[in-house]
Amino acid sequence: MSTAVGPVARGRGLAARRPLRMNATLAAGLGLLGALVLAAVFAPLLTSWDPIKQDLSRSLQDPGNGHLLGTDQLGRDVFARLLYGARTDLRVGALAVLFPFLIGGALGLVAGWRGGWFDLILMRIVDIVVAIPFFVLVIALVFVLGSGTRSIYIAITLVGWVAYARIVRGEVLVAKEQEYALAARASGLPTSRILLRHLLPNVVLQAFVFSMSDIVLSILAIVTLGYLGLGVPQPTPDWGSMIQEGQAFIFTKWYLAAVPGLAVVITGLALALIADGFVHRSERR
């Protein structure tokens, strides 16, 4: 905990460190996300089917007969692929946001604090990156880097850091004029200590709230890449490739494409509720 001049004026940093005070929206979001994560983690307990093993004698079976959601064209259990797909998409989606969060946040923190040429150049780079549509740039980068999880992380990081840099820089510009920041500076504390111990706890909340909707965007990107055949390599289950495979049977087995899409929608809803819950929480204080 910070010792000398803590962020008492606005108190967001302190409040963020208080035990989580729930509201209905936040609770609903956390509950839904918790259920999804538990389903992904305990997938082997929820289904006995192997999500990868093919059995062509059982292809395209209707729901029932031991297969809760039927089987796909290669005879794989759809429910098992849905659960194991959650493991892939939730993990990659969350991790893909971590790097942009850290890199963009750090750059935004320094740019907002220092200003000058560093800030000027960084913001011009931000203007340039946001001019290229997110999906277009991510898809182009995954193409040049070669498909696979590593390329997805690199592509989303190269494109995604700009949003965090913008948000954190904007927050720092306000926070550095607050009394606690001025006092910290006047007391001669080293810059690194001011940034990390005094400013960061106060500016990180907005970036964190944004990261919830950014995970949605990142999962959408991963699912889209999977749908286009550029995502997580086969045979690893992934909701995007499930939708792509199900599309061929849309008029006969509509649920093959519909159900993985619904899983994405529910994940998006959970994260949006969490983000909204945090916003309501900070507005009420």
Partner: protein, 313 residues
């Protein structure tokens, strides 16, 4: 005169952005691991094809010289040559651009037609059950993959309500119009959640402003206040919100074109990825970025024209 100066200043401001975009697009090939020409063309590439790609991109020259060559070609409208189709990439892009522009324009119009009335309704009946229901749209809609929405529309309109074609672009204007309905609706549904959320917030700010309070105090009906006092502001807000989200809108057309087999630059880019046709991927990325910069510029100019409070000086 002041407006003209503003237009010129905004035009000048796009130059460094376009310059930066050209740098990113140029450097894309240098992100390819290993020998770019070999990696891009794949393991079955002939040595002649690899040599031709290396020569075409000048990969043996110093980096600065490669960039100058690239910019020199761009200045002449040369976007490189497609190895797969053996034609100029610019020719391919121009041939495919109309379908994408149809999609962007019709998707935007539909998104506004859906979201503006809903946002106005939600803002004018703040706190009601209707407002709550409309506010739930973004929560559910933000996580919907655009291509999945498209597939669900294909299911609905292909099987249950065969009113519109579910693939292709038609042969004439009437055919284009009929074919664009479902792709445009898909793009609109991807954009609507974002628009509703932002527009509702800005409409609430308008409804709480002094001049609306005055209008209400003068005894004007709620309907009159909405129709004649706040809709212009709604238009201004729509333009601003559209400007902020234009990159998202343009990006979503990429995969929507694939779902509906629309012959736009999005499908061209995806086909070129699978054909390992780097020059076309590079050209389409550049064109998408230029499109975003141009639409951003247009929304800024429209905003300045609609709202006299915008600082023109």
């Amino acid at each position: 005169m002041r407006y003209l100066a503003y237009v010129l200043r905004r035009l000048v401001a796009t130059v460094p952005v376009l310059f930066g975009v050209s740098l990113i697009v140029f450097f894309m090939i240098h992100l390819v691991p290993g020998d770019p020409a070999k990696t891009l063309l794949g393991i079955r590439a002939t040595p002649e094809a690899v040599a031709a790609l290396q020569k075409s991109f000048g990969l043996d020259k110093p980096l600065w010289e490669q960039y100058l060559d690239f910019m020199g070609r761009l200045a002449h409208g040369d976007l490189g040559r497609s190895f797969f189709y053996n034609v100029d990439a610019s020719e391919l892009v121009l041939g495919r651009l109309p379908a994408t522009l149809w999609l962007v324009v019709s998707g935007t119009v539909l998104a506004l037609l859906i979201s503006v009335p809903l946002a106005v309704l939600a803002a004018s009946r703040r706190g009601s059950a209707l407002d709550q229901a409309i506010r739930a749209v973004p929560l559910v809609g933000l996580g919907m993959p655009a291509f999945w929405v498209g597939i669900m529309l294909v299911l609905l309109f292909g099987l249950k309500l065969p009113l519109f074609p579910v693939s292709g672009f038609g042969d004439d204007v009437a055919g284009h119009l009929r074919s664009i309905v479902l792709p445009a609706l898909t793009v609109a549904l991807a954009l609507t959640p974002i628009l509703i959320r932002s527009l509702r917030t800005s409409m609430i700010a308008v409804l709480d402003s002094d001049y609306v309070v005055t209008a209400r105090a003068k005894g004007l009906t709620h309907r009159r206040i909405i129709l004649s006092h706040t809709l212009r502001n709604a238009a201004v807000s729509s333009v601003t919100v559209l400007g902020v989200n234009v990159a998202y809108l343009v990006g979503s057309t990429l995969v929507v074109e694939r779902v509906f087999a629309l012959p736009g630059i999005g499908t061209l880019m995806l086909d070129s990825i699978f054909n390992r046709d780097f020059a076309v991927v590079q050209a389409v990325t550049l064109v998408f970025a230029v499109m975003v910069v141009a639409i951003n510029l247009m929304t800024d100019l429209a905003h300045a024209a609609l709202d006299p409070r915008v600082e023109l000086s």
